[in-house]
Symmetry: C2
DNA sequence: AATGAACTTGCAGCCACTGCAAGTTTGTTG
DNA sequence: CAACAAACTTGCAGTGGCTGCAAGTTCATT
């Protein structure tokens, strides 16, 4: 019996898939940060990664997906943490702590994130797509919080509101982090944003 | 001498342009709400509006633009109002009042907005594009507020934070409004969201 | 070794979108 | 009114993202 490791489902086939996927995202980030998103074709990326362009679309639904990546894993982890925290503290505080998971993931993957930042800076059309990738997660989180509070998310604004605003705060912090090229820690920036949120966004001194 | 009306720059040429543009957005909204965004081609829309597909692209940069519309006018008006209000009250309060302009515009254009909502519900890819259309405006507003406060928007998070979160709050209110098919007034929903924001997003009773 | 599933690839094709070079309409000027 | 220029529409040809299909190839299983 082989040990089951969820991080590496073993088999040289799956290994190869991981490699190909990594090669494609790597090529996409490298080429696009160099030439700009619109000046790179899927053929370029596939060629650089050593596969056909048709294969590219077996891995990613769109060129944008290859550049932006999917962050389902981290978001799922955050929701799990949230489920644990919610019963013991106010909603905003629970979110503030749960968001530390994505923060850590981003700081661990900083090289890729800085490239993404570089690309998005020159192709702003990509920014909303990055938001979209979180849209489904936001919906699920909204329902989670609504269930916790025992309210109907369709009639009560609070769950959607707290999710949307914290999400926006996180995005602001992340943008500042990338713009500063990581000079300040993402965690500190997020913390500052949440503090201002919890205080009701008063004018700064 | 003909009266100068800035709403209608007169000349039968400009009139015709307005008509064509309106016909295109009308056709786009109608067809897409009926069949779904992906099931409608630019040819379909252009045909319905009685122009060539090439002409379509003289009016809109993309199929999405025709459906989502541009809201530059309202946003500019809001920023002008904001410039007047900022010196006399806290930032959050100024935004809360300035946002009444877009609110009024949306309520006046409710038929189109409900169609958009219907379309977006079935094609969620469009939602982020709607956000993008505001991205540039958000950036400008951020700088406006930073200038008012006398801080550097690159190092200080507050301006970007207050703009992003209020924008998110507005979006939540608007979504709720469209989901309820206008049963509740948009203004009331926006007001409730801003009240919660100003209170620091405490758990609801 | 054989079988079938998974993966890659070329091909043909749809559609969004663009530049260019007409042709047509409209506002203006002598 | 005639003539000219600017604005607008359109067809055409072409690029590139993206998909379904029908091979081929590679790998895991028995």
């Amino acid at each position: 019996m082989t040990p089951i490791d969820q991080d590496a489902p073993l088999g040289r086939r799956d290994l190869r898939k991981q490699q190909t996927r990594a090669a494609l995202t790597g090529a996409a980030l490298r080429l696009c940060s160099l030439r700009g998103f619109d000046q790179v074709t899927v053929d370029d990326i596939s060629g650089e990664a050593g596969v056909s362009s048709r294969t590219f679309f077996n891995y990613f639904a769109s060129k944008e997906d290859a550049v932006l990546g999917d962050h389902l894993v981290e978001v799922d982890a955050m929701r799990a943490r949230l489920a644990v925290l919610l019963p013991t503290m106010p909603v905003l505080e629970a979110i503030r702590r749960a968001v530390l998971l994505p923060v850590a993931a981003m700081e661990a993957d900083r090289d890729h994130w800085f490239l993404r930042m570089e690309i998005i800076k020159h192709s702003p059309q990509l920014l909303p797509r990055l938001v979209l990738s979180n849209a489904e997660a936001e919906r699920a989180t909204t329902e989670q919080i609504a269930a916790h509070l025992g309210v109907d998310p369709a009639t009560h604004v609070y769950p959607a509101l707290v999710v949307a605003t914290t999400s926006a705060a996180f995005r602001v912090a992340a943008t500042g982090w990338m713009a500063a090229a990581g000079a300040r820690s993402l965690g500190a920036l997020v913390d500052r944003a949440f503090t201002a949120l919890a205080a009701g966004l008063p004018d700064p001194d």
